[in-house]
Subunit: 183 residues, 2 copies
Amino acid sequence: MRELIETMLESERIYDGRLIGLRRDKVKLPNGRTSTREVVVHPGAVAIVPLLSDGRVILVRQYRYAVGKILMEIPAGTLHPNETAEDCALRELREEIGYTAGQLEHLASIYLAPGYSTELIHVFLATNLEPASGDMDEDEFVEPVAIPLEDAISQIGEGKIQDAKTVAALLLVWQKRKADSEP
Amino acid sequence: MRELIETMLESERIYDGRLIGLRRDKVKLPNGRTSTREVVVHPGAVAIVPLLSDGRVILVRQYRYAVGKILMEIPAGTLHPNETAEDCALRELREEIGYTAGQLEHLASIYLAPGYSTELIHVFLATNLEPASGDMDEDEFVEPVAIPLEDAISQIGEGKIQDAKTVAALLLVWQKRKADSEP
């Protein structure tokens, strides 16, 4: 087995921002040479597939400034300090789609862009959904849309759903349901 | 339908690096208020699911400094200037696993972290694989591993495969094969 691990020699803080930070580190490569690694520091996040009892999932249309497009995504958000992933999931469901979930099942925890970002996102399936009391967050510029899971899977193939965590999470739910329904 | 679009008011270049850049923009929100958007500028990338005729996929074990872990991923890499996505896919297959592909099928193009990164990654299925002439890139610290696609899908559920593009791409291939095999 090859030696793969890189070790930090120096670390320089480039930026501390609102959502993200940026470090530039000097590292020692497995072959003894040195190189530079740019690291976006992110607090971590949660994403939720809200599945209604009729088989529809609730997605949100959301403008993503970084890519200059409205994307169809599952509800998601950044972890607040000292917040558990489950609490964050319930908060985001309430704020973005106005629902609460009777059941949350952890599907996976995945690194979105491990080549340069620390971000780990915890993905949940939310079921037993009920409209939440209280208002949705008016500062969330998102528009909920409920569509059958099968249609959402088709939309991935058609290029209409392009957000990586959404593609991964919807397919995880689809695969799980297929596997559970097979003998 | 709600107004969702944010428009740039000012843009400040924070960092220009080796792989990524960083901008901090002042934007006008749909409600007329202003906010800040931090944008990681990335040249885009390609990822490939190399599928052998015996049903195994070739993954690579790779140390990811940003997350401090060895991850199991599909071969992938950043687009070079003026390189097509297909040429990049063939280059990465050769450099990372020592194969060339007789057929490349575009599966999807997905945004990895559209909340803060411009990165768009083009995902391909590579088949009719043949060992490539010439050496693999000795500066790629990656270790190829061939495993059955079904086992890779199981490893996602077990938390052994945690890279978002890999999760999305393997499930895309799995879903496509299921859909194609059904009447």
